[in-house]
Symmetry: C2
């Protein structure tokens, strides 16, 4: 098998969706660079690129809420990735399991799995 | 309840992930504009913005493979959406149920659900 060629954008980034490999819950969407993809494959833990901090970022590096990668999938155009992961703790810095814990009209539908005050100092 | 304010980027776009509401399968990632979000809510069918064609796009408008929206979720930062949908046919123009039908190392893991030659003329 040959690696699928990825179509990074003009900033050398593309979006990656993290999905819980067991429950199927969509946990978050973040961006990756070629380096983030390579680090994810090498280490088995999800890495992203923080656009605000402008740096490579290991998910859970400070909170301990790491994502072990089971599989990385790529879409038909090669311009988006899907990380199938085992999520330690919760994916969202707000304490919810998923960053998508609200409907567009403001209803909270997600489950809170940790207290951010106890995780982030 | 009040609508969550969305953080569109400098091109007035943000990524939207479509997930099958029943199976949990992640079907595709595309981009939406404020107009695409509004049309999706008004009509109950997923609309996106095609960056290559530079136009509002009703998913399945030509193929019939529409996405009925069950719920729209928004992430913690308001800069990504999750469409929970009932997918008619398959989401991918290649005939696969999901656009994420390959692993990064080139293995086909998705299910083909239609023949694109019979759908697109």
């Amino acid at each position: 098998m040959t690696d699928i060629e990825l179509a990074f954008d003009e900033h050398e980034r593309l979006p990656a969706v993290a999905q819980d490999a067991d429950s199927g819950e969509v946990l978050m969407l973040a961006y990756v660079t070629p380096e983030a993809v390579e680090r994810s494959r090498e280490t088995g833990f999800a890495h992203y690129y923080s656009r605000s901090r402008e740096e490579l970022w290991k998910k859970g590096g400070s909170s301990g809420h790491v994502q072990s990668i089971e599989e990385i999938r790529v879409d038909c155009d090669g311009d988006a990735l899907l990380y199938l992961v085992d999520q330690e703790g919760g994916a969202c810095h707000t304490g919810y399991e998923s960053c998508f814990y609200r409907t567009l009209d403001g209803e909270t539908v997600g489950e809170r799995v940790f207290d951010p005050d106890e995780v982030y100092e």
